[in-house]
């Protein structure tokens, strides 16, 4: 098995903001949780009426707490099921399967200063980050954009803990992050970390690049939700089998449901780990990832099964 798993029990569920629930997991065998670096995420497996779902969530608990993990889940209105399942079907006492921590969004040790930019539920990886930065006496500031205070999970606690190092930009109070102003005067050695919806990441990175920031100092975390779409079949050449991808299922999930392991890290179209060779297709590849280049997309030789889909007569991949 390429992705070792941990069986956990849900020991607490709390509503931490409008449409946001926080889940606490402890190991069923009573053991301690693997150590994780701030910014890491886990993948939670869900058995939704016989359909396998696997969603990534950033760990938000304290890295020094080895007894439990915590994640927070925003109920997405257009959810294809993952967040709705977590909100409606998971109860305290349930048993679930999670992955080991996956570290795609690390803090950079050489930074002189860390600027953290959160959009909505993107706040979660920054909770352990701030704890570690604070304890080690490093310089940081958090800019937290949210639709309304009711949706701003953990804001008051963060303000209490970190004081003026936290600033909130609240949409319905007319607040807006002035990215240019924020980035133009940052001293050398500053790194920015953005965890937010893609348009906000693009905006921040766009302004930073315009101002001449070095690529080495820009970091982002984004999990694109696999979009729903017309069901389709996919032939797996090496495995000699065919899988059916339902409307609300990703290609990756349907391959996994057939018992075939595919390497993954982010499950959100960003890391490149699940890249799969397309052998033949008659139709159109629907690329939804942000990993493949435009040229690669046009060439039609690769697909990222965690988020991308297919429309047409037949698709054969190398798996």
């Amino acid at each position: 098995m390429i992705h070792p798993e941990i069986i956990v029990r849900v020991t607490d569920i709390a509503v931490v903001a409008e449409s946001i629930k926080q889940f606490t997991f402890e190991r069923v065998d009573g053991g301690s949780m693997p150590v994780f670096a701030p910014g890491a995420h886990i993948v939670v497996s869900m058995d939704d009426q016989g359909k396998l779902r696997r969603n990534p969530y950033s760990l938000m608990s304290s890295p020094s707490d080895s007894t439990s993990y915590q994640i927070s889940v925003l109920r997405v209105v257009e959810s294809r099921g993952g967040s709705a399942f977590m909100h409606e079907h998971v109860d305290v006492g349930d048993t679930m399967t999670i992955s080991h921590p996956i570290d795609l969004f690390p803090l950079h040790a050489t930074a002189k200063r860390h600027v953290l930019i959160a959009g909505g539920i993107g706040i979660t990886p920054f909770l352990p980050m701030m704890e570690v930065l604070n304890e080690s006496g490093q310089v940081f500031e958090l800019h937290y954009s949210m639709r309304s205070r009711r949706r701003g999970a953990f804001l008051s606690e963060l303000e209490r803990r970190y004081g003026s190092r936290v600033s909130a930009e609240v949409d319905d109070e007319g607040g807006r992050l002035d990215t240019r102003k924020l980035l133009i005067d940052q001293p050398l050695g500053t790194h920015i970390y953005v965890c937010a919806p893609l348009p906000m990441i693009d905006l921040v990175f766009g302004v930073a690049r315009e101002l001449g920031w070095a690529e080495e100092n820009l970091h982002r975390e984004v999990f694109l939700a696999p979009p729903a779409g017309t069901p389709f079949y996919t032939n797996l050449a090496k495995s000699g089998t065919t899988v059916y991808v339902a409307e609300h299922q990703s290609l990756l999930e349907s391959i996994e449901a057939a018992g075939i392991d595919v390497p993954y890290l982010c499950r959100g179209g960003a890391c490149g780990q699940c890249e799969t060779t397309v052998i033949d297709f008659d139709g159109q590849l629907m690329h939804h990832d942000i990993f493949l280049t435009d040229d690669e997309n046009v060439s039609g030789t690769k697909i990222m099964p965690c988020v991308s889909r297919f429309v047409g007569a037949s698709l054969t991949v190398e798996l």
């Binding site: 050489t110 050398l188 001449g212």
Partner: protein
């Protein structure tokens, strides 16, 4: 022969997005800039040029570029001191360039690292002598501008063979005693790095 551990330098390409350009030039490294900006360039309005001549003569040509700031440093040491002052007050919208010999480039890369500038974000061009900076593995002393091998360590007088491995951390090649078993025999030196 290419040395794998030896850094490769992409060459001077102006990053037009930068709000401030800081250029550290040593000797013939000045040509990297002069050739690139032959017809003038808008970046010069936001450029700070530091130059140490070390035997070359580009002072007049560099001065004529009309950069926002230009300083002819008396020594590489003085240039680095001034550069430190500039970087201490610089923002992330600054781009650092360095051109000159390998030893000089390495010293600027090390200095920049103290300010949190990643090696990869520095624009570099190698110019001038292939001479090497060599650390004696026996006394740990550094020898600058080595052009022959073997050579005599200026610190401990051992005769050192220059190995083809460059340490980024030390910003130096390694020199190893060539006649430890036969101290009476001193092999002839050959000019290797002009």
């Amino acid at each position: 022969m290419a040395i794998k551990s030896r850094p490769v330098y992409a060459g001077f390409n102006v990053d037009i997005t930068a709000q401030q350009h800081v250029l550290a030039l040593e000797g013939q490294g000045a040509d990297a800039l002069l050739e690139k900006l032959a017809g003038g360039h808008p970046m010069l309005e936001r450029a700070e040029i530091l130059y140490v001549a070390t035997g070359s003569d580009h002072d007049a040509a560099l001065r004529a570029l009309g950069a926002a700031n230009y300083w002819l440093a008396p020594t590489a040491e003085a240039l680095r001191d001034r550069l430190s002052e500039i970087l201490a007050h610089a923002t992330m919208c600054t781009r650092l360039y360095v051109a000159g010999t390998e030893g000089f480039i390495g010293s600027i890369v090390q200095l920049a690292a103290d300010f949190g500038i990643a090696n990869a974000s520095i624009i570099k061009e190698f110019r001038g002598s292939q001479q090497r900076r060599v650390q004696c593995v026996h006394c740990k002393g550094f020898n600058d501008n080595v052009t022959i091998s073997p050579f005599q360590c200026v610190h401990c007088d051992l005769h050192l063979f220059v190995r083809d491995h460059f340490s980024v951390r030390l910003n130096a090649f390694q020199g190893v005693c060539i006649n430890a078993e036969t101290p009476d025999i001193i092999p002839p030196s050959v000019e290797m790095y002009r």
